[in-house]
């Protein structure tokens, strides 16, 4: 109970203003009824009536297009390293599942070769979470023993309990924020109200993905015809990978004019053939079945083997946006029951 506070709803704009003075604040903004995390200059631009943003806040850390270094093209060979953006940033309104996705893709950018672009942004990003009070049609974060109101992966978490927010602090970054006088210590009744809101939200999630022992089950059915059946209807459109908070694949391309140029890192999708097509024309993953199977295995088999965690947070974006209704909950549940 020691690190929980209360923030009155009408104090929220003041709190956001305080953040804006110290940080570059990103918050959910309505852009032709598509919610995206955008920089805001004043609290009025925010729109808090959203289930979750279309594009995950991962785009604040692992930008869709990022300059790796600049150069003068051709064979004279002049390279300038880029400035690393260590500006202080804060994201308001991040959902617990998206915050968890950061902790899942952190090791990819930290192991062996440290990726300065991602890591500098990660250290300088303050996560102000907002609990989900009414989960969306395809949310299933409870399948991973998480809760729509868990403060495990954010610096501070706000939960809407009527006319005020119940604030939980997690880690010392959060402690700095809560020093401001807008926050008053929370009472016991506030905490019960929060648990009640949390329970209500949890009960609304009825979709469930059976993931216990999924890695071992998948080991046995790699060659199974099941994957052909699942992938037959896939349009290889790639929307699922572009919207997934735990997808970290990227492409590296050179862009140049006659006088200057840069090597740029861009999001990539494993669902298109060009992803693994070799210059000789050989493609180890020629068919949609190979690619679909690789996407599911990467998240539910290879990631657990390499980094010990399932690379899915149950945000449901891939289910919402798949034009042919390939439902990852259904695919994984059915994969679990396939007889090898």
């Amino acid at each position: 109970m020691m690190n929980s506070y209360i923030l009155l709803k009408e104090d929220l704009p003041k709190f956001i203003k305080e953040l804006i003075d110290k940080y570059k604040v990103f918050a959910p903004v309505d852009d032709n009824d598509v919610t995206l995390f955008k920089e805001i200059k004043n609290p009025k631009e925010m729109n808090l009536k959203y289930n979750n943003s279309k594009l995950p806040p991962k785009s604040l850390l692992f930008c869709q297009t990022e300059t790796l270094f600049k150069f003068t093209p051709g064979t004279k060979g002049k390279i300038q390293s880029p400035g690393i953006d260590n500006g202080k940033k804060a994201v308001f309104g991040i959902r617990p599942c998206d915050a968890k996705s950061f902790s899942i893709i952190d090791p990819v950018f930290k192991e062996d070769f440290e990726d300065p672009f991602y890591l500098s942004k990660r250290e300088n990003l303050l996560l102000v979470g907002l609990s989900c009070t009414n989960p969306y049609s395809n949310c299933f974060c409870t399948s991973f023993k998480d809760s729509p109101a868990s403060s495990k992966y954010v610096d501070i978490l706000l939960t809407d309990i009527g006319n005020k927010y119940f604030v939980e602090v997690n880690g010392d970054k959060g402690k700095q924020i809560v020093k401001s006088k807008l926050f008053k210590p929370a009472a016991k009744t506030d905490e019960d109200k929060k648990n009640e809101v949390e329970k209500k939200a949890k009960d609304q999630i009825i979709r469930y993905q059976k993931t216990d022992g999924i890695a071992e089950k998948l080991d046995k059915i790699f060659e199974n015809h099941f994957w052909k059946e699942v992938a037959d209807k896939c349009l290889r459109c790639g929307a699922c990978t572009y919207l997934c908070p735990t997808c970290h694949c990227f492409d590296i391309q050179d862009e140049a004019t006659m006088t200057d140029g840069a090597r740029v890192r861009i999001w990539d999708t494993c669902m298109i053939p060009e992803y693994t097509l070799q210059a000789s024309g050989y493609n180890p993953r020629p068919e949609r079945m190979n690619r679909m199977r690789n996407r599911v295995y990467h998240k539910y088999n290879y990631y657990p083997k390499n980094l010990g965690v399932i690379a899915c947070v149950g945000c449901g974006r891939c289910i919402d946006n798949c034009p042919v209704n390939i439902d990852i909950i259904d695919v994984v549940n059915r994969a679990g029951e396939v007889k090898p």
């Binding site: 690393i84 080991d219 060659e223 990227f250 050179d254 180890p284 190979n290 083997k305």
Partner: protein, 279 residues
């Protein structure tokens, strides 16, 4: 600024040797880092790869084909295929390219001390083997009998022709070259590399077999090696996947849960058997 793993170091092309002309042209590029300091402490093991960048065109991962014992340069042998390799083939001596690495694991030369070694190469697959052969020849006393089985489609397509002539003169290594299709002034073996392997019949006792080449050749070579009695710990190969970052982050070069650029490119056949995933 934290060290940027994607940024290459500048290197000058010192020498361009044309190995094979024609449609499937292959050239060997000798490169020296502009900065002496970097060149001095650029140490690598045989079998490791380096990312070579043509600024404005892109970058590709190549096996370093010169031996680590040659300290003051590195060489890569490149077949002309796509945008970057075409630009590389058009570059001349004195041009500046970017090099970063070394990446990937390496042939386990320490573990193979005291063993006989059979090198089975096909086409451009000979590049990583050349690095390994030269390294082992420079430490010949630690190793036993050496056999080189190398083939290509035509005699014109054979790489490192001059070096093979030297090797044929040496006593401590036997070389078995082959070409796929009969040619009049070709006295040596005619046929595919896996069949040449059966003809040479190396004994599996205390021997390591290393094979690199097109996937179809590796498949049949491994089958024939097993016929000759080699077990799965004695067979090593390198695998080829499309690579972009070279440091295990961009996610595309995975076979099963292993990344070829980080956990490979050298794999033992034992590993390959356990690995699911498309090669």
């Amino acid at each position: 600024m934290k060290e940027n793993p994607y940024q290459p170091m500048l290197a000058i092309i010192e020498n361009v040797k044309e190995e094979v002309g024609g449609q499937r042209a292959i050239k060997t590029f000798r490169m020296k880092f502009k900065d002496k300091e970097i060149q001095k402490n650029f140490t690598f093991q045989p079998g490791q790869c380096a990312m070579v960048s043509l600024l404005g065109k892109g970058e590709c991962m190549f096996a370093i084909s010169s031996s680590p014992t040659k300290k003051d340069y590195i060489e890569v042998s490149v077949m002309r295929h796509g945008k970057v390799t075409k630009a590389l083939h058009e570059s001349e001596i004195g041009d500046v390219v970017g090099v970063r690495g070394p990446y990937g694991n390496n042939f386990d030369v320490k573990d193979w001390k005291g063993k006989n070694i059979v090198f089975i190469g096909g086409g451009i697959g000979q590049a990583p083997l050349r690095c390994l052969i030269n390294y082992i020849l420079d430490n010949k006393k630690n190793y036993g009998k050496l056999d080189v089985i190398y083939g290509a489609r035509t005699s014109e397509d054979l790489c490192f022709k001059e070096e093979f002539e030297e090797l044929e003169k040496r006593k401590d290594i036997n070389v078995h070259l082959s070409i796929d299709v009969k040619e009049d002034n070709w006295k040596k073996y005619v046929g595919f590399v896996p069949d040449n392997l059966l003809k040479v019949k190396p004994s599996p006792k205390n021997t390591i077999a290393v094979t690199c080449g097109p996937p179809i050749m590796i498949k049949f070579v491994i089958q024939n090696l097993e016929k000759l009695g080699f077990n799965e710990d004695q067979i090593f190969t390198t695998l080829e996947m499309r690579m972009k970052c070279g440091i295990g982050k961009c996610g595309r070069c995975n076979i099963g849960n292993l990344y070829v650029c980080k956990d490979g490119p050298v794999f033992s056949y034992k590993q390959l058997k356990k690995l699911q995933g498309e090669r």
